[in-house]
């Protein structure tokens, strides 16, 4: 996966990368929360950032620059691309900051009911 993302990044000029990361560090999670809904991120990734047909975003393992580049050009038929015209780098940094605050899921092995369901299904 990582490889794929860096593949997308390759054409991005080094200077703009610097700008992106500079802005990214100031991401505001409160603003990001609103953007996450207004910009329909939740539609495919869930309000949880991890439920739905979209990729699991939690825990967010991408750096802001990687995240921004991915959203600009996801390179998949599933995820629409978002240009800087509709979502600025700063806004994407806000969204990223919000996703970072979303709690991760417990592991299946730590949920007794899931374990029980799994044991029954795999019998």
């Amino acid at each position: 996966m990582k490889k794929l993302i860096f593949g997308f990044l390759a054409p991005v000029a080094a200077t703009s990368l610097l700008v992106v990361s500079a802005v990214a560090q100031q991401g505001d999670a409160t603003r990001g929360k609103k953007m996450f809904v207004d910009y329909s991120c939740y539609a495919c990734h869930g309000f949880s950032g991890q439920n739905g047909p979209g990729k699991r975003l939690v825990p967010m393992k991408m750096a802001t620059v990687v995240f921004t580049a991915y959203v600009r050009s996801p390179g998949t038929n599933q995820m629409p691309s978002y240009s800087a015209k509709v979502l600025s780098d700063a806004q994407l940094a806000d969204i990223w900051a919000y996703i970072k605050t979303l709690p991760d899921s417990p592991e299946a092995k730590d949920i007794p009911l899931v374990q029980q369901l799994k044991a029954e299904a795999g019998k």
């Binding site: 329909s40 939740y42 539609a43 309000f47 699991r56 509709v86």
Partner: protein
């Protein structure tokens, strides 16, 4: 044939007459106080030419009243119609009332004494969608009555769904209620003719009997479908002829099955294949599922659900894709369809053998089920009727060597299928503690509460991530009833209530995970469930919107590079949020919610299950993640 004439009478006059009549004699029940001309003139202030207009206005503004009865008809034609309906074994009749079938309605309450039982519906779409769900849960059809042009139009989408789903429904539309010209038509059936299997408008009472028998047989012979009989009001209201027509003989035809030579060839192909597969789209009855299990046990080959209904137990060792690459022989049994269309063979190359009734029903205009499956061998027959012979022929070919080989093969498939099932459940942990609540959490918490009951999942699961199928042990045809048939939303809520009505008879616990958009097309169905004490646990999958469309609009806006901030317009059900617990209460149903914390879910579901087991409908509103 003599018949009571519709002549208008002022409302007060009718009531006054009725009161006076009660004191006099039955034969002079009501005394007309105004002539139609007087009424028309009075309302419109015009002369004779305005008469029909006055009647129409009265009808539509709600001031119309029953015509005066100047004589008694003690043996109306509709009593005979009820005899035929009973002979067909129909147990429930759903409708929204209308004068075009008032004769039949009166016979149902006073002649057959509400047996078959009348199910009062607040919308014709509910009446037909209930019958849709009922037939899938029970295996036999219900009757839905429709009031003239308007009733048929309200019912149309539900008929369309049932047609796409190949589900039998018997419908009678009343016509000839001339008080409102707009409610009658020269050819009433025309409006839905392209999506019923047969429709007919008999001229005589005996003809109605014959048509009902024929309609039933056609509806119940695969490919099954809704049928419509249009019955003139005067045939219902008028007296029976002196020699009362007989209830026609009723014998269900046996189902078309494959010829023996073809069956032998299929058996050979399947037994000699290296990697055979079965794509099982539909079975008609539980017996069909049991036969399929026997065939899979013999062949030890994977069985995939070729459609969206229960055809094969989902935890049978052969349920799934198994191991090993492409199939060299695929046996496709009534696969495809269900509104999704059968677009070509099951894929994977190799030889495809199709046994299907798809080619026995040509559809006009609406090619709902696509162009049918493609196959190297195609047999137009009912798979379930063919399976006994096929099993017998397979058994004859099973040498000890073959049996050993199949056993080894079966073990590998079983292992792969078990692993796939376990992995599918493992994914439930994602967002397990999230608020709003995940769909996996809902299905997961439900399972321990229902697994020791005789349960039935009555709603579609396309929008709930398929979690019930992933987590629940489904091994009966009524464990999952499939989708809308033709993708028409507004099916889920009424079809669930219809299925629950059938399940009530069998003492089954019905469970519905109910999407919010679907709920709001015709929520009066909640009253029907409460009024008729239909036990059904409905859990709102309340994602506060037409979420499917949120995703589509978001994608369109993105393609156009116009941003997303308006994607909620026209797609979300917010501002204000809809309070489903309050809605259910208003209709007389026990309810809880909205639940947002997943920790509150299990206790609420438990309370719900307990109440449903006592025989009442319950709604639990859960605010959910948008998708599973």
């Amino acid at each position: 044939m003599s018949k009571p004439k519709h002549t208008s009478v002022g409302r007060r006059g009718f009531l006054k007459g009725a009161a006076a009549g009660a004191a006099v004699s039955a034969a002079t029940l009501v005394t007309p106080q105004l002539t139609e001309a007087q009424q028309g003139g009075g309302r419109g202030g015009r002369g004779g030419a305005a008469q029909p207009e006055g009647a129409v206005i009265a009808r539509e503004d709600g001031t119309a009243r029953p015509a005066p009865v100047s004589r008694i008809v003690e043996n109306p034609g509709s009593d005979y119609m009820c005899d035929v309906i009973k002979a067909l074994g129909i147990e429930y009749v759903s409708f929204n009332p209308g004068s075009s079938f008032e004769g039949l309605h009166e016979s149902l309450i006073n002649y057959t004494r509400n047996n078959p039982e009348i199910v009062t519906c607040t919308h014709e779409e509910n009446a037909v969608a209930m019958a849709h769900g009922y037939a899938k849960a029970d295996g036999k059809p219900m009757l839905a009555l429709l009031h003239g042009t308007i009733g048929v139009q309200h019912a149309a989408m539900a008929i369309y769904n049932a047609y796409g789903d190949r589900v039998p429904i018997i419908m009678i539309a009343g016509t000839g209620d001339t008080a409102v010209p707009a409610h009658t038509a020269v050819d009433l059936g025309a409006m839905v003719r392209d999506f019923v299997k047969w429709d007919h408008q008999p001229d005589t009472l005996a003809g109605v009997g014959q048509a009902l028998i024929r309609a039933y047989k056609l509806a119940m012979t695969p490919p099954m479908a809704p049928v419509l009989i249009t019955v003139q009001a005067e045939l219902q209201m008028g007296a029976m002829p002196a020699n009362r027509p007989q209830v026609p003989k009723f014998t269900m035809p046996s189902m078309p099955s494959a010829d023996l030579a073809s069956v032998r060839q299929i058996a050979k192909d399947m037994v000699n294949a290296n990697n055979p597969r079965i794509a099982a789209g539909r079975v008609r009855t539980q017996e069909g599922m049991d036969l399929l299990v026997r065939l899979a046990d013999l062949l030890q080959c994977p069985v995939g659900g070729g459609g969206d209904r229960m055809t094969f137990p989902n935890r049978h060792p052969m349920a799934g894709n198994g191991v090993g690459g492409a199939a060299d022989v695929t046996l496709s049994l009534e696969a495809g369809g269900g509104g999704g269309g059968g677009r070509g063979g099951p894929g994977g190359g190799g030889k495809t053998i199709v046994i299907s009734t798809a080619e026995l029903l040509a559809t006009s205009n609406f090619n709902i089920n696509g162009n049918g499956m493609n196959g190297d061998v195609y047999i137009a027959a009912d798979p379930e009727a063919t399976l006994p012979a096929l099993i017998e022929e397979v058994q004859k070919l099973l040498t000890p060597d073959k049996k050993r080989l199949f056993e080894d093969r079966g073990k590998k498939h079983a292992e792969a299928n078990h692993a796939a099932r376990a992995a599918a459940v493992e994914a439930a942990s994602v967002g397990w503690n999230a608020s709003p609540v995940s769909l996996a959490r809902i299905a997961g918490e439900l399972w321990p509460l229902i697994k020791n009951e005789d349960w039935s999942y009555v709603s579609p699961q396309g929008f709930v991530g398929g979690w019930p199928s992933r987590m629940w042990d489904m091994k009966k045809t009524y464990h999952y009833l499939g989708g809308q048939g033709a993708g028409g939303m507004g099916y889920g809520a009424p079809a669930s209530v219809g299925a629950a009505l059938a399940n009530k008879k069998h003492g089954r616990l019905s469970v519905n995970i109910q999407t919010d958009g679907d709920m709001n097309y015709s929520p009066g169905i909640l009253w029907t469930a409460a009024h008729h004490r239909i036990p059904l646990l409905s859990i709102m999958h309340n994602n506060r919107g037409y979420h499917q469309e949120v995703m589509f609009i978001a994608r369109a806006a993105s393609i156009r590079n116009r941003g997303q901030e308006n994607s909620h317009i026209g797609t979300r059900l917010i501002d204000p949020n809809i309070d489903y617990a309050m809605m259910a209460k208003a209709y007389g149903m026990y309810s809880e919610g909205p639940i947002t914390d997943p920790k509150d879910l299990a206790p609420a579901l438990k309370r719900g299950v307990e109440r449903v087991k006592k025989g009442e409908p319950v709604m639990i509103d859960v605010v959910t993640q948008p998708r599973g």
